[in-house]
């Protein structure tokens, strides 16, 4: 079943199952190729697949560069890699606490924001088995509340204590790495780090947009 080439896969799910509450936690992929061919044509949309995950909630998915793999984390503290064509689980990794937002994906690494495990880093290609372990972690005094951001070999995270932390994206050859830079904003980070043209932007709970850069 090709994906993205107008091919539909009617998984046989009825409207009841697709109504959310009966599915539980999972990831769905939709195709918007055609308004007509699937069994519920009046809704002009067909699910290509639905995959059950653990927990009760999951973060927004992340796609690999080649669009072959989908990454998603759950409130049960698991990160999944799924085949984007079939929805099959390729591997999963427990990260020790709730995944709060989408992982960042850069240079073959997943940077996972967690409730109490700080920044957890996984090999995006897996580990050759069904269950994988983190490569390293970056400690954070508070929950890493937003999706990390990666640029220039640095990964930035914001936390619920109002800290913005930078880690070497390559790690430090140890299981736990200290930040290479940090700053305290004095207010929980509510706007995920964004990096553009030499500046880092974050939003805070007390109503500020803050820009960082090389002075």
């Amino acid at each position: 079943m090709p994906v993205g080439n107008n091919a539909f896969f009617d998984a046989g799910f009825g409207l009841v199952q697709l109504n959310g509450s009966n599915i539980g936690n999972g990831v769905r992929r939709y195709s918007f190729d055609s308004p007509l061919p699937c069994s519920w044509a009046p809704y002009a949309m067909c699910p290509l697949w639905v995959t059950q995950l653990d927990g009760t909630d999951s973060v927004s998915p992340v796609l690999s560069d080649d669009q072959a793999t989908v990454y998603v984390g759950t409130d049960a503290g698991t990160v999944y890699a799924l085949d984007a064509v079939t929805g099959n689980i390729q591997w999963s990794a427990p990260v020790g606490s709730q995944v709060i937002d989408s992982p960042a994906l850069a240079n073959g690494r997943l940077y996972v924001p967690t409730e109490s495990s700080g920044l957890v880093v996984l090999d995006a290609t897996g580990c050759g088995s069904a269950t994988c372990s983190p490569l390293w972690a970056g400690p954070s005094s508070g929950a890493v509340t937003q999706q990390p951001a990666v640029a220039g070999g640095v990964v930035f995270v914001g936390n619920s204590d109002g800290d913005i932390l930078a880690f070497d994206a390559a790690g430090c050859a140890a299981a736990t790495c200290d930040p290479s830079w940090s700053d305290s904003t004095g207010s929980p980070i509510t706007g995920a780090p964004a990096i553009n043209n030499g500046q880092l932007y974050i939003g805070t709970a007390d109503g500020r947009l803050i820009a960082y850069g090389i002075p």
């Binding site: 994906v3 993205g4 109504n19 959310g20 539980g24 936690n25 990831v27 769905r28 992929r29 939709y30 918007f32 190729d33 809704y43 002009a44 949309m45 009760t56 927004s60 998915p61 992340v62 796609l63 690999s64 560069d65 669009q67 989908v70 984007a84 989408s102 960042a104 994906l105 850069a106 937003q146 999706q147 951001a149 990666v150 640029a151 220039g152 070999g153 640095v154 070497d168 390559a170 706007g191 995920a192 964004a194 990096i195 553009n196 043209n197 500046q199 932007y201 939003g203 805070t204 709970a205 007390d206 109503g207 500020r208 947009l209 803050i210 820009a211 960082y212 850069g213 090389i214 002075p215």
Partner: protein, 206 residues
């Protein structure tokens, strides 16, 4: 006929012509949050970065910043803002009707899109904040990237659509709060919206 133009990489370019990055939460349609073009903030320079400016908004917590060629855009509880990237001066603000949660903006070319809970979604001129278009609908519209990763774009006569992938609605939340939407991201006339909580889909033309 359908024409596939979308790959995530070129999708970013389509979203933000001219070289800017981070037009949507997560940086781009795939939500990877990776700016591969950044060459100023690096592992070698990061120790020297400092706060350059801080700009206040008017109403509470600030959501995810996004960027356009005109500046930096964020939303708070009631408004969407544009700030100059060099000094943080406020360029404009806009309060969508019905805003009750952070109206997360996203950028397509020269337009900043914003929508309030239960209100219309508007396309704003990124330079001035003037309303370019208003999308009328009675369902909540959330920005591209808010809850979706996007596989690609497809252009059909008069419209562009996206292939999307989403996490399901949060259990127990009200339908209005759970609704998500996809909308066209390129110039055209029609748009497609869907709300996963109800699985209703609509096409609006303007």
């Amino acid at each position: 006929m359908w024409r596939i133009v979308g790959r995530v990489g070129c999708g970013v370019a389509l979203l933000c012509l001219g070289g800017c990055w981070w037009p949507v939460p997560g940086g781009g349609p795939g939500r990877q949050a990776n700016n591969a073009a950044e060459d100023q903030i690096t592992a070698a320079s990061v120790a020297g970065i400092e706060e350059l400016w801080s700009a206040p908004t008017d109403d509470g917590a600030v959501g995810d910043p996004v960027t356009s060629l005109r500046g930096v855009h964020v939303g708070d509880a009631t408004s969407v803002y544009a700030f100059a990237d060099h000094d943080g001066s406020r360029l404009w603000s806009y309060a969508p009707d019905g805003a009750g949660s952070t109206p997360q903006p996203f950028v397509t070319g020269e337009e900043v899109w914003a929508g309030g809970a239960g209100g219309p979604t508007v396309a704003l001129d990124a330079s001035t904040g003037a309303v370019v278009r208003t999308i009328v609908g009675d369902q909540t519209l959330l920005g591209l990237g808010e809850s979706y990763a996007v596989f690609g774009y497809r252009i059909v006569p008069g419209a562009a659509m996206v292939d999307g992938l989403t996490a399901p609605p949060r259990p127990g939340c009200a339908a209005a709060a759970c609704s998500s939407a996809l909308m066209k991201i390129l110039p055209g006339r029609c748009r497609w919206e869907t709300t996963p909580s109800s699985m209703l889909a609509s096409v609006w033309c303007n």
